[in-house]
């Protein structure tokens, strides 16, 4: 229908024809979800700076810059387009920074970032392809490789000028029989005026930021709910089995990085299940594993490994929780029948 321009036969418009839909809801983008995550972390960052002062800013800055740098480097090495603008490297950096102790040397933050981005993300093919939470991969790596500077003793340094670091972290105190008197009450644990990793101390800050994130639907609310429920159930069971233990259910829920992990680490969409049922299973698994690792292993805190273990189970959980199509045969029955 090409026509030359005349008054009676105007130029045919150039039409680009494609199957619909052609428009996408403007309210959401991947970048928007990452920005939401950073905004949700703002209360946690604020609490960290209030408790740990300049140390919090130092570790955070190191991790943010390193993660962004390694994201660009590994994308270039892998022949992929560098997409720093999607913000995912910054979110990984912020979470990683908040999971470190205040006193770690600069190279720990840099190595953790390199491993988080390089092994935790780039080796799998970049954003969306990884199985394990990148920040947790980096954290686990430095936890094991630099055990002396990351261990319980590194949190405590009486002369550093910070009020909280004169005492062991609450979970470490619970681990050592002699430290039972050092366990803070529930209110200090909730507010965060205790020792610990940079972001884990204030359950209040995690709650505020995390609830906002769930309200924005950038985090699936079923996961933190399931984590707390699973942890509470396991802690209650442990308390029933051993009523003399130092930590009650409230302590377990408010101490350590359970709140931080529940709202910001476990909810990473890439490494958590797709379906609602799967999310309940995943969260409950993390909650139970955190308590098991805290009580039965040498580690005072179990969030890092609990998340990594459940990440490994996610492909299986996804496979087991495929939804049944409307009016259709459940996938498992279909596989058996075919």
């Amino acid at each position: 229908m090409a026509a030359s321009g005349t008054p009676l036969a105007p130029e045919a418009p150039r039409l680009h024809v494609a199957p619909g839909p052609h428009l996408v809801s403007a309210g959401r983008s991947t970048r928007g979800m990452m920005v939401d995550a950073l905004v949700g972390l703002a209360p946690v960052l604020t609490a960290a700076v209030l408790v740990f002062h300049e140390w919090a800013l130092l570790q955070l800055a190191l991790c943010l810059v390193s993660c962004a740098l390694f994201e660009a480097v590994f994308a270039r090495l892998g022949g992929r387009e560098v997409q720093l603008a999607d913000g995912s490297a910054l979110v990984t950096g912020a979470i990683l920074g908040m999971s470190l102790p205040w006193s770690v040397p600069w190279y720990v933050a840099v190595v953790a970032s390199a491993v988080a981005i390089g092994i935790g993300k780039a080796a799998y093919g970049g954003l969306g392809q990884n199985v394990f939470n990148p920040a947790m991969v980096g954290r686990a790596f430095v936890m094991v490789s630099f055990a002396s500077v990351m261990g319980a003793a590194s949190y405590v340094r009486p002369g550093a000028g910070l009020a909280v670091v004169t005492q062991a972290t609450p979970l470490t105190a619970a681990k050592e029989a002699a430290g039972a008197a050092d366990i803070p009450g529930l209110w200090p644990l909730f507010l965060g005026v205790t020792n610990g990793s940079l972001g884990e101390t204030s359950a209040l800050a995690c709650l505020v930021g995390g609830l906002w994130l769930c309200w924005r639907r950038s985090a699936a609310w079923r996961i933190p709910t399931a984590v707390f429920a699973g942890a509470a159930a396991a802690a209650a069971a442990a308390r029933l089995l051993d009523p003399s233990s130092a930590l009650g259910v409230g302590h377990h829920l408010l101490a350590g990085s359970l709140a931080f992990g529940a709202f910001f680490i476990a909810t990473d969409p890439v490494t958590s299940p797709l379906s609602h049922r799967g999310q309940w299973l995943f969260g409950a698994g993390i909650g139970v594993l955190v308590i098991v690792i805290r009580l039965l292993s040498n580690y005072p805190e179990g969030v890092v490994f609990a998340v990594l273990l459940m990440n490994a189970a996610v492909p299986l959980i996804d496979r087991a929780t495929v939804p049944t199509p409307l009016g259709g045969v459940p996938p498992a029955d279909r596989e058996a029948a075919s």
């Binding site: 619909g20 979800m33 969306g128 049944t324 199509p325 279909r334």
Partner: protein, 105 residues
């Protein structure tokens, strides 16, 4: 969102035509695709109870057996999944390719 594309302005309007939509380049400007982050929104909105991200990425990977297992034939191409997708993945278009492959096979 379920209308079909017309490539020729000579196509007639029938009494069943409820509307004609013409979009400009600016309307379509925000459709740059990024990686699927498995947010799960497509699954939440799918009225047929499917897993659109699995289907679309399986089609891209030419994993035809996976598309059969995840019931690609049940998709009614309503477009709700693609509307919700934050990563702007062309889910409906990819699922259509997968269905065409099944029809041709």
């Amino acid at each position: 969102m379920m209308g079909f594309a017309v490539g020729d302005l000579a196509a007639p309007i029938t009494k069943g035509t409820s509307g004609v939509t013409v979009l400009t380049a600016t309307d379509l400007a925000r459709s740059r695709e990024t990686a699927c982050v498995r947010c799960g929104r497509c699954i939440e909105v799918c009225p047929m109870g499917l897993v659109p991200t699995r289907l679309a990425l399986a089609v891209r990977a030419r994993a035809w057996e996976a598309t059969r297992r995840y019931s690609i034939h049940a998709c009614m191409e309503c477009g709700c999944c693609a509307w919700e997708c934050p990563a702007r993945i062309p889910l409906v278009q990819l699922i259509r390719v997968g269905k065409a492959h099944r029809a041709a096979a």
